[in-house]
Symmetry: C2
Subunit: 192 residues, 2 copies
């Protein structure tokens, strides 16, 4: 069992609707030991790849991307969800459905910060149906950037986002892969 | 001139309505050298204080808070703006007006992650009228937590948020203090 799986068992909370809350160490409170373990695992796996940029989506992906970027010495770009006076008019844009917020929203990146020369590592906290990851891939496609890998902290493997991405040929590393939430409140991980 | 002032002069963009965009190194793309310089400056100033938690607000504050938390070995809590199925029912809440988004929104922290024992360092990217900082202070007040300091990357000193907070006795460190935006597109910083 790795560090992320241990954290999920010790400190995750399972809610109805197959929602796993990791607010105690990642998604509301961020514990530095947990974050560094996550970043170390991604850095180890992806450090041999030819990557020049880490792409994530606000908000929960930012901490992960920053901790990893410090290790790989790369810039981070975070896609924005909300309209802002500040966002450039020239931007790539797509729609993403949020499982936890139960709504669809725009996801956008300025054309200045994603381009055809980029070799991108996408990182995010959760992968379930894969809507956010697919949205970020779509932004890379619009820019002509290459997606060199996808790093996910927690994959709900019983939903099919991760499977679909792997079938399409993406190199997806999920640090914890949840096979199922059990009726007794426990979590089963996929065997490796 | 310090590193943040240099970055603003070289890479900031001034827009109408006294908006300064720092999307190239902090608010959309995050450059690790810039982030580490910011975190080093906060760590140097605040490391002697008795602080046990860093509080910020999603999204742009998260990267700053995480880089600083790694140096001070402290947890980060980021206040949430949007409604989510995931947020605890038991929470502190207040309203904040966003200058760049021109709307008011709820800012919330779960009661689990902010309490009367906490000695809090608040960090954020910008301080203008001080709405976000005052909102975070209000959340600390609701929890009975002490605000030990406030670290801001860029203060628009010609608006009065920083002045008001200092008059109230808060220890506010702003790494760059903008005196005015000039008609020729240049930026004047406050003398130290």
């Amino acid at each position: 069992m790795n560090k992320v799986e241990e954290l999920i068992l010790k400190r995750g909370e399972i809610k109805s609707g197959n929602i796993l809350k990791v607010d105690s160490f990642l998604n509301h409170q961020i514990e530095i030991d947990a974050l560094e373990a996550i970043a170390d695992a991604f850095a180890e796996y992806f450090s041999q790849k030819d990557i020049n940029k880490i792409l994530t989506i606000e908000s929960s992906g930012i901490a992960i991307a920053v901790a990893l970027a410090q290790r790989l010495k790369l810039p981070v770009v975070f896609a924005k969800k909300a309209e802002s006076l500040n966002l450039d008019a020239e931007r790539y844009s797509t729609r993403v459905y949020s499982f936890t917020k139960q709504k669809e929203y725009n996801v956008q990146v300025s054309k200045k910060y994603l381009c055809a020369d980029d070799k991108v590592l996408i990182v995010d906290d959760f992968l379930a149906l894969g809507s956010a990851a697919k949205g970020l891939i779509e932004l890379c496609n619009q820019a002509g950037a290459l997606v060199e890998g996808i790093g996910i902290v927690i994959e709900k493997a019983f939903q099919n986002g991760g499977k679909e991405l792997r079938v399409q040929g993406y190199d997806v590393l999920s640090l914890a892969m949840i096979e199922r939430f059990n009726e007794d409140g426990s979590v089963s991980f996929c065997s490796r």
